[in-house]
Amino acid sequence: MAREIVQPEENGLAVLSDITSGEYSLPAERCLEIYRLMVRARAMEERMIKMSKSGEGYFWIGGPGEEAFNVPLGLQVKKGRGPDYDYLHLHYRNSGTLIAMGMPVIDGIRQMAMTWTDRHSRGRNFVGHYCVPEWNVVPVCSVIGVAWVKAPGTAHVQKRYGGDGITIVVGGDAGTAEGDFGSCMIWSTRPGNELPVLMIVMNNGYGISTPAATQHAELHIVDRGKPFGIPGEVVDGNDPIASWHAIERAMRYVRQERRPYMIEALVSRLYGHSSSSGAMRVKDERDCVAEFGQKLIEAGVLDEEGASAIRKAALDECEKALEQALKEPKPTADDVRRFTYASSFHDVVYPDDYTGLPNGD
């Protein structure tokens, strides 16, 4: 029987030890939950990479190496629809966040498989371009940096609405070179109109193939928030316990103060930028899933057999999801124009949706 957790009985009650990382710790149950989600997110990404190579999908891009931050982020999101809940303006490496929020693996696989059942984009967008309106996940866009200028808009509505919902915006380190990053800081700190925006920079040290160190002189990206009075911190994004606490602190500040906060998470990029660079496993970067698994084993809350069972369950889930997704309907030629326009009483040409060039002759 694989051991997943040590439960020493004390007066009939289970007493579970906390797992510590540096000055921070988390309960063992929470760590196991995070670990399972990290493994599932990784398995999904690796299955998608295989799809990109087997022809079951085309382009792959995603977040292996960001799970230790993205999963704790997803678990702490105030999940729901509307301004009372958190809005998420994510980038295309946030699978771990969606999995942690409860997205079934098959919902990611369907997008990779370009099925009509792909709930995020109906087979239109690249993988990792999520959109879940009931969780306030606005459409992920390939264009680097644009999320920074849209995030203040949802936060503006939240500030006016009241409540404690916040806007979370995520981008990579290279994208902070876009002016939109500066726009986010300016619009979130207008005097008297400060906005509840949690700015998260996932710093993997690269913009595609270009090392950040060859293009950026700033020591830390979060330092750029200082002139705007935006507090920030750099966190080891390969450490889920440190990341959990950084996110918790940041969220508490933004929820209560209704002002922006910045986190720079130092993360790995374990399969390169995307399938365009081969999506080959990188050997010389830290692997947060392996590290955290080892940590849990060393702490005695998991053993090799238990870890193996978690991995196997995740792989099985992905295989089943793929098998199912490949059976599902694909978009057809008739679907090309669908969802261009929402129905309008005030449009005499397209009262329902786009139907091709205007006609009527």
Partner: protein, 352 residues
């Protein structure tokens, strides 16, 4: 009668009072200025933004995601070019997400020449805008249409761009906006902010009424059997004037269509008129290479090649990098009344 810019202001007032507009914003849009052309004076939901066009459009999109109904302004369309990727994104949100998110935003921006605006206050934008699939694009040429198109733009749950012809913003309408006072001086006293100190000023809004100009519906503003002229914005009243003059001077009768909606455009109206006259001229002032008018011309040729009596034609702005300040530049860069009149005369009188 209200001017075109007063009509826009009245429409925005109606929008924030009855149609759920939550935010009217942009650079200098809020008090004290209320817009460089005064379009947003006295509005309850108007506010000033940083000088950041990308930020303005991004803010509008964010507000829309969260259930708001924003109207944003880019002060001149000449400054919208750095937002074009955001415009593409606004236009594709619904399509890209398979209907998960609508994008009910209105972007209004003054467009075109006519105010001695030199290089960066004279651009046209409709040809660029017409390539933004997912958007609807309108351009009124008179106050009442400006009011009715603004209301439709606000009520439509898709991104709508309202291009306001700069040259016509101060032009008074010939038709009253429903609810507008009889006396234009009274309207001015009610809704125009005083020059100078405005700190204590509040508008007194007239009881304007609902009036929608449907998107995609052209207006046939002159009727004739000799030839068809299609235009919009600044050049539309010039086409009308030319038609009236040619009727007087040459007895020539024109169908003059005010397109009003660039997209969707009223193909039915164009088509019907071409079937009647067999002659068509398309007039606008955007630059002539890859001009929206060329698209209309292509469709006319595709659909009506055998119905045409003479070659179909366009009269457009020159393909030059800008409009120069000296009026010799401006009047020779974009169509003016004499050229329009001559082009219309030639069209109507060429032997079939």
């Amino acid at each position: 009668m209200a001017t075109l810019v007063q009509a826009v202001r009245l429409a925005l007032h109606y929008g924030e009072t009855y149609l759920g507009v939550t935010d009217i914003f942009g650079e200098d849009v809020g008090p004290p200025l209320g817009g460089v052309f005064t379009a947003t004076q006295g509005l309850r939901t108007a506010w000033n933004s940083p000088l950041d066009e990308r930020g303005i459009l991004g803010m509008a999109m964010g507000i829309a995601y969260a259930g708001g109904r924003p109207v944003c302004e880019i002060q001149f369309c000449d400054y919208a070019f750095n937002t074009i990727d955001l415009m593409k994104i606004a236009g594709n949100q619904r399509w890209a997400s398979g209907g998960n998110y609508d994008m009910p935003i209105v972007l209004m921006t003054p467009s075109g020449s006519g105010i001695r605006g030199s290089l960066y206050h004279s651009h046209s934008f409709e040809s660029w805008a017409s390539r933004l699939a997912g958007w609807k694009i309108v351009m009124p040429s008179n106050a009442l249409d400006a009011y009715g198109l603004m209301l439709s733009a606000i009520a439509d749950p898709n991104p709508v761009m309202v291009l306001l012809p700069k040259a016509l913003l101060r032009v008074r309408g010939e038709q009253k906006i429903p609810g507008e006072p009889e006396d234009e001086e009274e309207l001015k006293r009610m809704i125009d902010a005083p020059v100078g100190d405005r700190t204590g000023w509040q508008p007194r809004w007239p009881p304007v009424q609902e009036y929608f100009v449907p998107l995609g519906k052209a207006a046939l503003v002159r009727t004739g059997h000799h030839a068809t002229v299609v235009s919009y914005g600044r050049t539309l009243p010039l086409c009308v004037k030319a038609a009236d003059e040619l009727r007087e001077s040459h007895g020539l009768m024109f169908d003059v269509l005010d397109l009003r909606s660039i997209f969707p455009y009223d193909w039915h109206a164009i088509s019907q008129s071409v079937m009647k006259t067999g002659r068509i001229l398309i007039v606008n002032e955007d630059t002539e290479v890859t001009n929206f008018g060329e698209h209309l011309l292509r469709r006319v040729i595709d659909h009506h090649y055998y119905d045409l009596l003479v070659r179909p034609r366009v009269l457009l702005g020159q393909h030059i990098p800008g409009i120069g300040l000296n009026q010799e530049y401006e009047k020779n860069s974009v169509p003016q009344l004499p050229q329009i009149r001559e082009a219309m005369r030639a069209l109507a009188t060429e032997e079939a």
